[in-house]
Subunit: 359 residues, 2 copies
Amino acid sequence: MWHETKASIILSVQFPIIQAGMAGGVTTPELVAAVSNAGALGMIGAGYMTADALKSAIQAVKAGTNKPFGVNLFVPEIPKVKDGELQRANELLDPVREKLGMEKVHMKPAVDVSVFFEQVEIVIRYQVPVCSFTFGIPPESVIKKLKARGTILIGTATTVEEAILNEKSGMDLVVAQGSEAGGHRGSFEGDFAHAMIGTMALVPQVADAVSIPVIAAGGIMDGRGILSSLILGAEAVQMGTAFLTTAESGAHALHKKAVLSATEDRTVVTSTFSGKPARGIENGFIREMTEYEKELPPYPIQNILTQEIRKTAAKQGNADYLAMWSGQNPRLSRELPADELVHRLAGEVDVLIGRIKEK
Amino acid sequence: MWHETKASIILSVQFPIIQAGMAGGVTTPELVAAVSNAGALGMIGAGYMTADALKSAIQAVKAGTNKPFGVNLFVPEIPKVKDGELQRANELLDPVREKLGMEKVHMKPAVDVSVFFEQVEIVIRYQVPVCSFTFGIPPESVIKKLKARGTILIGTATTVEEAILNEKSGMDLVVAQGSEAGGHRGSFEGDFAHAMIGTMALVPQVADAVSIPVIAAGGIMDGRGILSSLILGAEAVQMGTAFLTTAESGAHALHKKAVLSATEDRTVVTSTFSGKPARGIENGFIREMTEYEKELPPYPIQNILTQEIRKTAAKQGNADYLAMWSGQNPRLSRELPADELVHRLAGEVDVLIGRIKEK
């Protein structure tokens, strides 16, 4: 059975397929439960959730499935921002606010690191089987606490060095996020531009360098992507964009539509929305803000500054000011119920393996 | 037999493995002949060759093998350069010339498109079985002439659209060059930045869009890369960096050494050497010139301007001023005779397939 891998055994899932923990409301409890019920691993994208919201999401998932699922957390960072920088960033957003008919409220975002620790407590209290991390490695105390409760931990790496750091920290598995991936880059060591390694190159180099199972991510959309990842040395795959367009996904209808109709050359890596590089479909906001990209405050400051803009654009149905994350493989996106997608993915791998066996 | 694919049949080779036509002296006749003798397709990188040099290279390859081989040509372009731009580009190179003890000769490069047509004549006259093209699609008359003589034609694409244009032009096969690839980007439609698609994402999308066999390129270094490419929908692979470090390769010893010791995060895509984006190992020249990248004249002007610098650096053994092209997978590079590499690659695929069949 191709789907019995080191990762599927550790995660106690039928298929070594992880639905990426996309933040910002994409991973509804319905999506997570449907994916887990179908034999893959559903994942709550809790990056932007309050502890209370996460608690509710976990309870809703548990009401929908008794299979394993996971929670993805963002390891917090406290950026240094000068007052002038914030003023400038707010001014740069004023024309956008004007276009959307918004008040030009200049925010002074406060970064509250304690939310992360509250999220961890919720993960522990509600005995979430799997917890994955993006944007760095959590403090040792957090790792110890989670491991003591038997939580399976997944780290995220965009280079070999980051994968080794994850392994050393005690992560049970590590995601190797190739440059094709949609959404935020997980890079946390060195500058992100040097960590834009394609999945085809990243996965085997990471697999050779660490002993923990590797989860391939970036550009994987169908059975071809899954089986080729396993051959490259991965023990599982993580797929975001593929699940973003499913029926249960909470992505905005315009976002789904944009991904379903996009071509491979329409995405860009931009930090204009959040202050951290992320891959999404190029739209008006990105085109207008890219020239100021280097002046913008770091994550999560810029993310907080643009939050109301994105919310307003969503309400108004204006795709030009939404952050429409997508990987580089949108031509392969499908509009399906999530369980149907998981079954098709597994079936596609079966067919490919059957063909290899015939040869 | 995994190695009997549409591409291997068309190309009349045992293994669907093409040694990329790396220009600038890397593809010695010894390398090309050794690769072809081993059952893969050797390729003369004739991009910068005079017709006479190409003739000699073809004759030398034919003396070394009676197996099929190919020639790679650069489709010429005539850039518009203002006088001031040229002056500025020369001035920017003066500090480099000084460091290398060179005379500050300000060149006025002339682009001679006729060389390409002379190369094509040589390919026809010496009945080279396979001719591949980079940087665009050759004129219809050239395609017709070559096809009339039975030459098998391979185009290069970095997007789905470019692949479709290649198919429409009459190419028999098309290389899908992922963003991991070393050396020059083959992009010829739109801006190259939007055409930096990872191999994992590019290959299946191209394979779905064209009927001609697809050749995967970018980050492929071993049996894992080959088999995963075939699963993604390719009918063959093209490997450059993997052959660059072989014994027969004409790459400078410092270049080989740099690739053999590089990590995945040490390459960058730069147009500082040639005026056209290419992936190579970051060194002094790239670091010094990157800030002026947007001012530099287009390919091939900048390439001609830096030629003497690169030659001088090669003689002096100064790796900081060599163009050391490399893909994003240098950790998997090996120092082997070329035939041994081909045999190992094929053996690795055999082992992987054996494992799949056992499961």
